[in-house]
């Protein structure tokens, strides 16, 4: 079969899975819906591999295939098809997305068991995977935006999955609103592209880009900035990042899939896909890189102080995506995509392990209450450590090679990009610190109550409460189910975690600088038209970066060990001494408060004013005024309907007489 046929199959299976589960959602007993969903994604992954093989069997210059099912619009000047583009970048993303999604589905089969919304969960999750694959395989801006919007919806549906929880619903709305801001930017960019190049499909646009726009012309810069608005909203970069930590209200596998491995990487994919446009507008690319760097620094600082386990991982995600954005903005495309892949592995693993820990803690996510769980949960702790090592870029792990690939490229580009290098290196130090902060706080030290219970084989149980506000809940539909599942007891959770742990540690070998470059070679056909296609970090820079990276990683782990294991009171002392900095960081650099003041409150007041004056006076006035006019007219006419028969007869006679008179006169 051709690669594009496989491409359509990749899209068809998750969609079919979603619809199947949705149609029979009352019928599925036990874990059936889960296996159906996982099977659908498994088939999608198999089709992605088929597409890979089909693609690789062609010569490198012929690896960009399009196929369309039908035309949406085919008129003068506008030509939009339901078409996909299968090229190395798309297939790469498909493999990562479907592969990691499959593992997370299998994990969820066990994790979400006993939740009343089990089938709904898997239908949504399958739909999300379908949307993400649609986004990735789209062959024109139109379909990309369709996939973009679907992904936003799926994210909203899954964040507010436990819809009776007020905090979850608020978080879902916040995520959706910020996503819509991004959508608007993307749509306007697409309009401008259509206007200038007369096309929306990627091959045509990129072919004509060079002749339509001049280097750094303000139009192309504006287009790229608008694309960036969309990318940053999806990928949670400053200033559109505030939704991601709140999105941790969703179930942990959702956080693993959407907010670590796939949806948030859509922005990175977008920048990589539209790289010809960004290379025409270096200003926009530089702004993008700068924001990526700023974000990674910001998120790293906040991750050092927050105490909610999932939120630490969320800020870590924001930070790592900052690296990826930085990477694709400075034209380190394969490095950025490589980091995307490795990050998917270890971040999904980290969320899975965190889910296991939270289940053992009977739903609490507060790290202040966790300690010494290593003996009670051996498998989870090993998995968590593996993920943390990869995150901290411990030498030899996959994270190590991918992160340093990006930094080495920055150094190679030289001049101003050395700032990015420094920021990235500092960020690496912070990453190592907060990653092992988590490890040492949760797993090291004396076992806490829940851990001791678990060592005796008894899973802790607590009254269901909202982890954020402490409000009491129940376990019916719209709230988490009554049972908690930990990895030690569920094979369906252990298998994916094991696989991801192995990949997190080992996957680095495919892209060791100057030794192997599987990713670069694979993605080369897509990025062949880049000006920086031949740029490769020199051996010296690579070695320097690797050494520095190792140093940062090991120092970070050492610092974390010192602060949280060796001298237990140190962190409290640091908080006391740097109280104001700590406050600033704990409040996430006051972004949420700023948005509330600048955006939320004015909009609320505007809405209230509109409702009070405009709606009540103008609109109600018009509609009710029309009704009143009609009623007045009616009361005028009603006078004739007195009920007295003789008046009716009189009216009749009057009419007859008048008519006769008329005809008489007319005839005469």
């Amino acid at each position: 079969m051709t690669a594009t046929a496989f491409g359509w199959l990749v899209l068809a299976f998750p969609l079919a899975g979603s619809i199947t589960i949705a149609l029979g959602f009352r019928q599925w007993r036990g874990r059936t819906a889960g296996w159906i969903g996982s099977g659908a994604i498994g088939l999608a992954f198999a089709s992605s591999i088929g597409a890979l093989i089909a693609l690789q069997s062609r010569s490198p210059s012929q690896r960009a295939l399009t196929s369309s099912l039908w035309n949406y619009i085919a008129t003068e000047g506008v030509n939009v098809k339901l078409g996909i583009l299968v090229d190395p970048l798309a297939v790469f993303m498909c493999l990562v997305v479907s592969g990691v999604s499959f593992l997370i589905h299998v994990y969820s089969v066990a994790y979400m068991d006993s939740d009343r919304g089990y089938s709904r969960y898997f239908s949504y999750l399958n739909f999300f995977v379908f949307s993400m694959l649609l986004l990735v395989l789209a062959g024109n801006f139109f379909l990309l935006i369709v996939g973009w919007a679907f992904v936003g919806f799926a994210s909203y549906a899954l964040i507010s999955f436990w819809y009776r929880r007020r905090t979850a619903v608020r978080a879902g709305i916040k995520a959706f609103v910020i996503n819509v801001v991004g959508d608007v930017g993307l749509v306007i960019a697409a309009i401008l592209i259509q206007r200038d190049t007369g096309a929306l499909d990627f091959p045509a646009v990129f072919a004509r880009a060079g002749s339509v726009w001049h280097h750094n012309e303000w139009v192309i810069v504006a287009i790229c900035l608008l694309i960036l608005v969309g990318a940053f909203a999806k990928s949670a970069q400053i200033p559109l990042h505030t939704w991601l930590p709140d999105a941790m209200e969703g179930p942990t596998p959702v956080s693993a899939l959407i907010h670590a491995a796939t949806m948030v990487t859509a922005g990175v994919y977008l920048i990589a896909r539209t790289h010809p446009l960004f290379e025409l507008a270096p200003t926009a690319a530089d702004i993008s890189a700068a924001i990526g760097a700023l974000t990674l620094f910001f998120a790293g600082t906040v991750a050092l102080v927050v105490t909610d386990l999932k939120r630490v991982i969320a800020y870590s995600t924001i930070s790592q995506i900052g690296y990826m954005v930085m990477g694709v903005s400075i034209a380190a495309y394969s490095a950025g995509m490589f980091h995307l892949m490795t990050h998917a592995f270890f971040k999904a693993l980290m969320f899975m392990a965190a889910g296991s820990v939270i289940a053992a803690m009977a739903g609490t996510q507060d790290m202040d209450r966790m300690s010494g769980m290593r003996r009670a949960m051996p498998f989870t702790s090993v998995a968590f450590v593996a993920a943390a090592l990869a995150l901290a870029a411990f030498p030899g792990t996959s994270g190590y090679f991918s992160k340093d690939d990006i930094l080495a490229f920055a150094a190679e580009r030289g001049s101003g990009y050395w700032i990015l290098y420094v920021v990235g290196t500092v960020g690496a130090l912070m990453t190592a610190i907060y990653a092992f902060r988590m490890i040492f706080r949760v797993f090291a030290g004396e076992p806490n109550e829940e851990a001791r219970e678990l060592e005796h084989g008894h899973l802790a149980h607590a009254e269901p409460v909202n982890p954020l506000t402490g409000e009491p809940e129940d376990t019916d539909v719209g709230f988490p189910g009554p049972e908690h599942h930990i990895a030690e007891r569920e094979a369906a959770m252990r298998a994916p975690m094991t696989l991801l742990a192995v990949l997190s540690i080992v996957a680095g070998v495919i892209q060791i600088p100057h030794v192997t470059d599987v990713v670069t070679d694979f993605l080369a056909p897509t990025f062949a038209d880049s000006r920086f296609a031949d740029v490769e970090p020199s051996v010296g820079l690579s070695v320097l970066t690797l050494a520095l990276g190792a140093l940062m990683s090991l120092s970070g782990i050492a610092i974390a060990y010192l602060v949280w294991v060796r001298r237990p009171g140190t962190s409290a002392q640091l908080v006391a001494r740097f109280r104001r900095t700590h406050d600033f960081l704990i409040h996430k650099w006051y972004f949420d408060e700023a948005y509330d003041l600048l955006v939320v409150r004015p909009m609320t007041r505007l809405g209230q004013a509109a409702s009070r004056t405009f709606e009540r006076v103008v609109i109600d006035g018009v509609s009710q005024g029309a009704a009143m006019v009609v009623r007045a007219g009616n009361s005028l006419v009603r006078v004739a309907q007195s009920g007295i028969v003789r008046y009716y007869a009189l009216a009749l006679m009057t009419g007859v007489t008048a008519l006769a008179l008329y005809f008489l006169i007319a005839a005469k």
């Binding site: 009189l650 006679m653 007859v656 007489t657 006769a660 005809f663 008489l664 005839a667 005469k668």
Partner: protein, 181 residues
């Protein structure tokens, strides 16, 4: 000779009509109507419609008027109150009637209908005879004949239904103001 009969009959007809409208007592109205109907029968005779004239006397003046007399006797000849709630109708109605009459006269006289000025077509001797009517009814107007007989049947049934005494004592459906308190 014919003209005299015509004028006498015409005057009687109009007089009877006016009597119906003007008299307060319904009994007198009914009697005026009978006079009017007989006058009309004479006019029919003048128009060579013998059967119609006979039917008018027998059916109309005979059966229908007897019905009216019975009902007037049963209902009681309540006189119309002189005071009208609003005098509009008392003033306006005759005016309109006069206007309509004048218009119709103008229409008829100025219509230029052929034969209106003449004495009518020359008709054979048995023009309005029962034989002729019967022949027309059973050939050209057969369907109307059947339909009309059905109508009479329905009217008979309706009369029975309407006048039936109900089993339970009839509730006092007078207006609230009219009931004895």
């Amino acid at each position: 000779m014919e003209s005299v009969v015509f004028f006498v009959a015409a005057l009687l007809a109009i007089g009877g009509a006016l009597g119906v409208v003007i008299q307060r007592n319904p009994f007198y109205s009914v009697l005026s109507l009978v006079v009017h109907l007989i006058a009309l029968a004479v006019l029919f005779l003048l128009l060579s419609a013998e059967f119609i004239a006979a039917a008018q006397v027998i059916v109309y003046a005979g059966a229908v008027m007897v019905l009216y007399v019975f009902v007037v006797a049963y209902v009681g000849g309540l006189e119309d109150p002189l005071i009208e709630p609003s005098p509009v109708l008392r003033v306006v109605a005759p005016l309109f009637a006069v206007a309509l009459g004048v218009e119709l006269s103008f229409a008829i006289l100025g219509s230029g209908l052929k034969g209106i000025d003449g004495k009518g077509a020359h008709v054979a001797a048995g023009f309005g005879s029962p034989a002729r009517i019967g022949e027309l009814f059973l050939t050209k107007f057969l369907i109307s004949f059947e339909v009309v007989s059905l109508l009479l049947l329905i009217a008979a049934v309706a009369a029975v239904v309407l006048a039936r005494r109900s089993k339970s004592p009839e509730p006092d459906r007078r207006l609230a103001a009219d009931r004895p308190s």
